[in-house]
Subunit: 267 residues, 3 copies
């Protein structure tokens, strides 16, 4: 796991150096926090969703982030159009299936995006990830009703079937491509009290995918970085408002060296 | 009023214990702050507005929050569809008529929602509440041009006519169901310098409605809690940016016991 | 330039006194921060974009802010409708051509707004401003790939052609109406790490336009005020999250007298 910690440092340094454009088609609730997360780490965010714009915008991008919160049919169409363009242009796509399992619209949309585009990574909570597999899975709103542990084995199987990397996040994150499996235990409980931390983690994976061709290491290192930012924030803040702000500060101030020392990876 | 202070403590404890899902169809400006407000107090927010999703989403919810800021026709249709479903399912609805009185679109939409769904509570500033009654009432944008005091008597009559609870908020809040009338004097002037504090107060009432069947006590106690959070925030912050963050912190750190001691209710 | 510094103080005092309603049709990412910026300085923000509402809303406004981030065709139509109404009603319009040059949709929309409405001021980064002139100009996302200096002469010519005031912002801002040229060197590098600071600067110009009939002085003084708020914020914050919040605080606490002493204008 020492190699992976070194990779985390390299990836963070590369994001800061290359300042990749990350194209986000994401939900209204988290757009601002996602953009600030990407800026704080040194990336260059853009939000664009118009059907007659997304192909052009994604063509400049280092990664495409698709997030199905506050979804409607127009946005699904734009996500698929942008995703198809990204797929043929070999631009990595990361999908955040917010609320999949809670409503048919979201579950079907997530599955459609997976089917019609080349998704490199899917990040969600246990319920969301499980909903991509089981027809009978039910989620309460956008919060998980399943534990990460309950999702590990099904996720491993599903990752193999979908030929993609799955990141099941929670108190401990699990990243798997169906064969490998990496646990990331960086993070802090206050992250669950700030809206959009999951979505911002997804965008962080997007930034790391733009500088690391291996989606497993890109995902695991991004989650370690984002989780470590939460731990750093918790040293300075003990309630959600100040914690949310301290996380943006931490994403900016954490050095690659410091990240390397603090990654918590396991099998 | 001691009973009401005790009820405030019970309601806050119940929200933290039950973590009710609060379904918000609200405006773009305040979505993030509203979600963070609900998370900070211990509730579980979800934002969903698609016509083909709202009925399914609201069916899991403890309350439905309808807010007509940044409105358009599609959103009105979704609000009414969700509201009708909530009405038949006995899920409490709270309406925030942002900018009613300022434009015909908003005034008509607010009245239509009131007519077609079973709204438990309406929270607005004096101008917004008055606009639901008088055709000639004019508001400047989304800020009130009427005093709370000027709205008390008309609100009492209107609440009776509409068979709903009205909360007219401002320096002092007045809650009435047409018969009872409760004043809540918790709050701080800096709340007027942060966008979405009114909308977040509405969402807070939504959370309290999900644990308290009496809409008068749910509304009054929610406003006392939200206002007290403003007072706590003002101890640590003297300008709007840090105040906005300190409010989220306060919503998280205030204990039921502390709330009980600090509610400011009157007739 | 001493007269201009005095004008800055007068404009800020006038905004706080008149509390002008500023109607924003702006992008999803920055709506919250823009509204908070306007509230913190003492103005009254409203966001409204529905085609069947914008004419009525803008008729009460002191200025109309059009911002083309997260654009689509419906929003373009609303911007033009609101802009036409503002034009005939002599309500000043300020345009923020976010991402113009990056995609055809945005470049064409910006040019269309300029052609069909009476825009008083356009604020953008160098790439965005240059894209309004040259067909071959290319921008990477929403961040500038041109220096302010490279844009000064073309901007001067373009301002004359369009008969509007152009503000090219970056490390140093340049304001020109084709004849006059004012440099504003207030500001701080951390502003580039917070999403929507450019858009919030545009809204600030909108507020100042509502109290100052001279678009050159309104624009230059607004940028000095906003930039000085950045400098004040940087005294209390050294990373983007806390800086973003400290800026809102500074916009609220800066006095007209303090602003007058700290404006950095040049030729």
């Amino acid at each position: 796991m020492k190699i992976l910690s070194e990779k985390a440092a390299l990836n963070l340094a590369a994001v800061r150096k290359k300042k990749p454009l990350i194209h986000n088609i994401t939900n209204y609730v988290v757009m601002n926090y996602t953009a600030n997360t990407l800026l704080a780490m040194g990336a260059s965010p853009v939000m664009a969703h118009a059907l007659n714009e997304v192909e052009e915008m994604v063509s400049f991008a280092g990664a495409l982030v698709l997030n199905i919160g506050t979804l409607n049919n127009d946005w699904i169409a734009s996500m698929i159009k942008a995703g198809k363009k990204a797929s043929v242009s070999k631009i990595p796509i990361i999908l955040d299936p917010v609320g999949a399992g809670a409503t048919s619209l979201r579950t079907i949309a997530a599955k459609q995006i997976i089917q019609e585009t080349r998704v490199s990574v899917i990040r969600g909570n246990a319920s969301e990830i499980l909903s991509l597999r089981r027809k009978d899975s039910k989620t309460k709103g956008v919060d998980s009703i399943h534990s990460v542990e309950a999702a590990v084995q099904p996720a491993k199987i599903l990752a193999g079937e979908l030929e993609t990397v799955l990141a099941v996040t929670g108190p401990i994150d699990v990243v798997t491509d169906g064969q490998q499996q990496i646990r990331v235990s960086n993070g802090h409980a206050l992250m669950g009290y700030v809206t959009g931390t999951g979505c911002a983690a997804t965008a962080t994976i997007g930034a790391f995918l733009s500088v690391d061709e291996n989606p497993v290491s890109a995902t695991a290192t991004a989650l370690a970085y984002f989780g470590w930012a939460g731990e750093v924030a918790a040293k300075n803040a003990s309630a959600p408002g100040s914690f949310m702000i301290a996380m943006l500060d931490a994403l900016y101030t954490i050095t690659p060296e410091e990240l390397k020392e603090n990654c918590k990876f396991g099998d």
